[in-house]
Amino acid sequence: MREEFLFNSEEEFCAKLREVSQSGVDRRKIRTITPYFVYELDEIIQAPASNLKFFTLFGAVLGFITGMSLTIYTVLSWPLITGGKPFISLPPFLIIGFEMTILLGGVTSFLGFLLIARLPRIKDMAPDKEYGNQFVIVVEKE
């Protein structure tokens, strides 16, 4: 069994959510759908912080290692002095390392987001019911 509440404004939605949440309903039994990001929401239901940053960190570190190893490996695989500079010229290689950090960090964040937000969801691409600009609280009950 499930109970569904629809609201037209953010204030009413937050008030009801606070009430439901304080009445002792388990956080995992409450589902909300909002037309835009509501700041108070996470605070009211005491949601844990997003873990996305770990994906980002992983991607960024991987990117930096990729950039640095690509430049250092290639310059050592055909050691040819150009411009009288040392083989491993760190300042220019750091630029490649930096760009790769951002590239892989950004792309991994996006893929990580899709993974932990359980997207894409095929059946929700054309859902049976759309709520438009309404704020929705669904409480699952056994």
């Binding site: 204030e11 759908i33 835009y36």
Partner: protein
């Protein structure tokens, strides 16, 4: 509550007003699209002619080997910058007026990089060998020279395009879900797939919000690095007028300046055509104008410092190139640049003018012109007048390179026109979010 129905109505109205831009295009739209397409085709034909005949038709020759193409490349990379700045940096600073400009600015970024990316290829001559700049394993065991700024460019620009695309797409996911709700037939399916099944649940929003902040945190240093790398294409060479340490910040400020001007050039007509006066107000324009004014002052300051650095350098070549810029063969262009970038924007100190869209539009066009000439002056004056007077020579544009440069503008506007009819032109969910909180903090 008595006003809750009113809030719902306002939000529905907002959806309608913004999505109205995606309705069936008018005859004028088709005409504009056809003109752009025609000019792009002429540009393509000119490029074909250049490939078949040889690079001589492009007017660049010794000593000026970098001319219109590289000028325009730097110009378009610069235009791209403001998009990321407006969306990422203003997101991190929580500037609320950003929600009115970020979508068009991000679209502008992507189309500008797509335009900029063509120019190294056109400039390259034998374009079918473009993959030589990429590091790839080959039987000759040759790799790219990672000490070359041109290779940094490849990495910087391709990273910039990828991250901007991700940022642009991520920003549109909740808006695609709104379009999906209101579309029908095949369009419903297309936007449904693009929305990746977005519902707006608590979990989705929580991770989404974190993703936007993380991407903005990446995009901010990226935007600074990209134009720095572009400036090092010049600064790493030992030519007088190029070999200077202020180039990176000077170029980044100039890029943000020109990009913000282009946002005005695009958004002022867009607001009028799609009747968005209720959503993009004069206050929003005024906030963005302040960014234009401050970057103009930074650019003017950089011009002055550049001259002072040359005069205090004790280097006769360095001094001579700056005297040449202001009084030599290209002095006219130099003074156009000074007028457009340093003098004309000063009228934005007047509050009344900051709220006058006609004047703002004219100033934005002047800045676009001025910033194109800035790059031309930097590139061509140095090359035509370097160390050896015996090797001095002038550059004259030809029909082919001028035509290709003009076509690049048509190419850019072509994509922007397509964007205006196929994607939501304003960040709908963000505008709702900001409106719900009241904009007095903006």
């Amino acid at each position: 509550m008595h006003n809750s129905a009113h809030v719902l109505e306002l939000n529905n109205q907002l959806d309608n007003d913004i999505l109205a831009a995606m309705r069936k295009p008018s005859t004028l739209y088709w005409f504009a699209l056809a003109v752009c397409l025609f000019v792009v085709m002429i540009g393509g034909a000119l490029w074909g002619y250049q490939i078949v005949t040889g690079m001589g038709v492009a007017g660049k020759n010794n000593p000026v080997g970098w001319a219109m193409y590289i000028t325009t490349f730097v110009f378009w990379v610069g235009i791209a910058h403001s998009g990321t700045l407006i969306s990422a940096v203003l997101l991190l600073f929580r500037a609320k007026f950003r929600s009115r400009f970020n979508r068009s600015a991000e679209a502008m970024t992507i189309f500008a990089i797509m335009t900029a990316g063509l120019f190294p290829l056109i400039h390259m001559g034998r374009v079918w060998f473009f993959y030589f700049v990429m590091p790839y394993p080959n039987q000759r065991q040759l790799w790219s020279n990672f000490r070359s700024p041109l290779v940094w460019d490849v990495f910087a620009i391709s990273t910039y395009l990828t991250i901007s695309l991700v940022f642009f797409y991520v920003g549109m996911i909740p808006d695609f879900a709104i379009v999906r709700q209101r579309a029908s037939g095949i369009r419903k399916w297309i936007y449904g797939v693009l929305s990746v099944g977005w519902r707006g649940t608590e979990t989705q929003w929580r991770h989404y919000n974190q993703l936007c902040i993380l991407l903005a945190a990446f995009a901010t240093p990226l935007v600074v690095s990209v134009h720095s790398v572009v400036s090092w294409d010049f600064a790493m060479a030992i030519l007088p007028g190029w070999h200077t340490t202020i180039f990176a910040h000077y170029f980044v400020a100039g890029a943000i300046f020109s990009g913000t001007a282009m946002v005005f050039t695009l958004v002022i007509p867009m607001r009028k055509i799609f009747h968005l006066e209720r959503y993009i107000t004069l206050e929003h324009f005024e906030s963005l104008t302040k960014l234009l004014l401050i970057t103009s002052l930074i650019v003017s300051y950089a011009y002055i410092v550049e001259f002072l650095l040359a005069f205090y350098s004790g280097n006769p070549f360095e001094k001579s190139i700056f005297v040449y810029r202001a009084t030599g063969d290209y002095a006219g262009l130099f003074w156009i640049m000074v007028f457009c970038n340093c003098v004309a924007p000063l009228i934005l100190f007047v509050k009344k003018i900051r709220r006058n869209l006609v004047v703002l539009f004219i100033v934005s066009i002047l800045i676009n012109i001025g910033m194109w000439f800035e790059r031309f002056v930097i590139i061509v004056s140095t090359l035509s007048h370097d160390f050896l007077p015996y090797a001095w020579g002038l550059y004259k544009p030809t029909l082919v390179d001028t035509g290709i440069v003009i076509a690049s503008f048509a190419w850019f506007f072509l994509f922007f026109l397509l964007f205006a009819k196929t994607l939501p032109i304003l960040a709908i969910t963000e505008v709702k979010e900001v409106s719900a909180k009241g904009e007095h903090h903006a």
